[in-house]
Symmetry: C2
Subunit: 460 residues, 2 copies
């Protein structure tokens, strides 16, 4: 049973803090005997091997790949993060890559080919079998992040008049050309349009002479090949699909998506939204300081612009600050509270849009809820800040100004937090990417203007 990894045993290796233990590739690199070196690494699961390989630095990774290029199997390449694949591929011979890709389903092949330099890609395509090559070229012709690019071209389909016996015999003969794993048999009409499906677990239990027509479920969700990956992921999630047929513009079945690939898409989309909200355009395991700067500086530049806008508002009231320096002490509190409240509302709205909970039908209810709760929160913290101001500076009028400014800024923050992402979505922009700038600009400008403006009017 030593071949049976299990989570209980595995947990001994992964301490509670989630940080992994020593990397076996590092100790293997010290071995001088090439055979020992290879034997040490051959037993690793591709998913573990890829994790360890990702942890090495560029130089270590290069030494390892050069010493034992045969260890870089197709399965390993399919497991590696895109940016690591990009680093490893140039170290390998085209023929070796073509061989490694031969064992994979077409969706994994396409994904790896994407990371190749144009020149190497040509050489690898040259080394492939003509049929496989044609499939890869067809996939690469589709846009990035569309289903045509991501689907696998291997699937099992059958006409509805076939019996269970026919289908099983057909599959026994087909052998190599079938997908590595599949869960549904798709029933297609004479024009190859999917009209139903039979789960494999159902087919297997039926007598051999049953026709597929009598077994099939008619509710088959098909995906057009030019559809965006996010759209397809939503369909899988909503209808709990395990696999779905992909069709061309004539409605003919040309491929299949399976839920394990959808899981990767969902994680990619989540990561994108997560980072976008903080103004980070990209982050990966091999990032250098330089690529980090490039991924973060643009949003900081925009933030510099909005911060200057807020400063201009402050400068308009410099005469008030000169006379009452307490204003300079308290104004960042008003702005900071509004900024945080706005970010809360914005985050809930962006998530609601991504999950499609926030729809045309529920938008009005959500706006009303944000408005009302922002006012309640504003009143609560207005009392808090007014109390603190009064105790600190002993000035009832100043406390009153803080009170009013807090309510105004919170109300604006809450409404901006929902209306701005809704508006951007409607205008066709990605609310996760661009909302933050607008919301913090509103909360900064309104916060400073309300507080200093009231102060100038009431206190001077």
């Amino acid at each position: 049973m030593s071949d049976t990894p299990d989570l209980l045993e595995q947990q001994d290796n992964i301490p509670d803090d989630g940080l992994a233990t020593e990397n076996p590739l590092l100790s293997a690199l010290d071995l001088t005997n090439d055979d020992e070196f290879r034997i040490r690494l051959e037993g690793l699961h591709p998913a573990d091997f890829s994790d360890f390989l990702e942890e090495l630095n560029d130089a270590q990774r290069e030494v390892l790949v050069m010493r034992a290029p045969a260890l870089i199997t197709g399965e390993l390449l399919a497991e590696l993060e895109d940016d690591v694949v990009e680093d490893v591929l140039p170290l390998l011979e085209p023929e070796l890559i073509a061989d490694a890709l031969n064992e994979l389903d077409s969706d994994d092949v396409t994904q790896i080919m994407e990371e190749m330099e144009a020149g190497q890609r040509e050489d690898v395509l040259e080394a492939m079998e003509p049929l496989e090559r044609a499939g890869v070229e067809a996939s690469l012709a589709f846009d990035d992040e569309t289903i045509g690019r991501l689907m696998q071209r291997e699937f099992v389909s059958a006409p509805e008049f076939w019996t269970v016996g026919d289908t099983i015999d057909h599959m026994r003969d087909a052998g190599e050309d079938l997908p590595e794993l599949f869960f549904n048999i798709y029933i297609v009409d004479p024009r190859l349009k999917p009209i139903g499906y039979v789960p494999v677990s159902k087919l297997m239990r039926a007598p051999r002479d049953t026709t597929l027509a009598s077994l099939m479920d008619l509710k088959v969700f098909t995906i057009a090949q030019d559809v965006d990956q996010e759209e397809a992921a939503y369909l899988f999630e909503k209808y709990h699909l395990i696999s779905a047929p992909v069709v061309d513009t004539q409605g003919r079945m040309v491929g299949m998506m399976t839920v394990d690939d959808i899981l990767d898409i969902i994680q990619d989309e989540n990561k994108e939204d997560f980072l976008a909200l903080a103004g980070v355009s990209d982050a990966g395991i091999t990032d250098t300081a330089f690529s980090t700067v490039r991924a973060r500086a643009p949003w900081l530049l925009v933030n510099l612009g909005t911060a200057i806008l807020a400063s201009i508002v402050i400068a308009r009231f410099d005469y008030a600050i000169e006379q009452i320096v307490a204003l300079a002490v308290l104004m960042p509190i008003v702005a900071s509270m509004g900024g945080n409240a706005g970010t809360q509302a914005l985050t809930v709205a962006v998530r609601g849009l991504a999950e499609r909970d926030l729809t045309k039908a529920t938008a009005w209810r959500a706006v009303r809820r944000e408005g009302v709760s922002a006012m309640i929160i504003g009143i609560i913290f207005a009392f808090a800040l007014a109390g603190i101001s009064f105790v600190w500076f002993g000035d009832a009028k100043l406390a009153g100004v803080a009170f009013v400014a807090m309510i105004i800024n919170h109300t604006f923050a809450g409404l901006a937090g929902i209306l701005i992402p809704l508006g951007l979505k409607r205008a066709g922009a990605d609310p996760a990417v661009s909302s933050s700038v607008f919301v913090t600009t509103v909360t900064d400008v309104v916060g400073f203007a309300a507080f200093l403006g009231f102060a100038a009017a009431v206190l001077l």
Copy 2:
């Protein structure tokens, strides 16, 4: 073929802005004839029906459920968001609920029972068949978010000496007791410990007299029933699993997890992290203004505390601001830039920890990268702010102060952004929930102190 919904057709109903079209439940509610009313709604897919039901307000939903309780099927309940289930259940008779649950796999039943009031739960359990009841009670005995609570108790297992024919015959006989869908047959030893698996698509293609032992894959990943859902989701994602056996403390197989349920878990965990980073404890489709305030006020209270801390720093230098009011104009820029840079670093770190890219082995590299890139970014924007300050206020010394303060604050922001989540993770806290407070406190306090402190030293 009108029974074949497809994404192409569906896209006509979902405009590009992702906002859904008119809700058919609303127009159905206007029908006075109860039969017409029922017929109108019966054809809806449970996933669509649940979406529409979620869009109604509480009063509309109650009218609909009271008029046609028979429409509330088990499948519909399984599709609804938890907080909507919680609202709908009290409107239904225990016997009707027990009937509805009867059609579901045990994992869905448990999930629905969780949302019931204790009294109703007793009544529904009473109305269930004894065997099903025992299963539900066993599941509910496990902690929330553990696999024992989430797994399904229906699965297919077989001893290794069985042939393909034995297995298929067994499944034909078992009928109702099998899971609705399954993808793997688990091979168990005489003590019921899983020792391998055979994908259904492989079993079906093999001759009837082949033994399972010769077909099975030995790399079976088992999950302990007391493991947290996040741990299980990670296993599925990393090893691209479609289903996995769940074992009790003696290693006996007691249930199964499938990838479609894992997808829901991953989305829940993503949502939790996403909201936590903005300081929102919970958000749902039925939120009222009151529950919104409750979910957001605690973090705003903490933020009020840290904002006051920053204000105290400002107050320490009030004499400098009194003399040079330009300091009050520029200081929010320094703080805001640092705050945003810190949030960027923090977001990347929290995501890296969640995806387990950021491990003990890569932590040092990440810290170094954040430190270096923070300094580079600091220098870039120090030049920008110094230039702006000089043009605006014509004071070279003031520009110099801004220059130095920006570099210091950015460097602190970058390091705090990575070291604080790493430290919290190591201390066993959830870095997504608590990091933000610490990071913004650091950037505010350091930002104001560096800028005003230098100004007081150099300019006065």
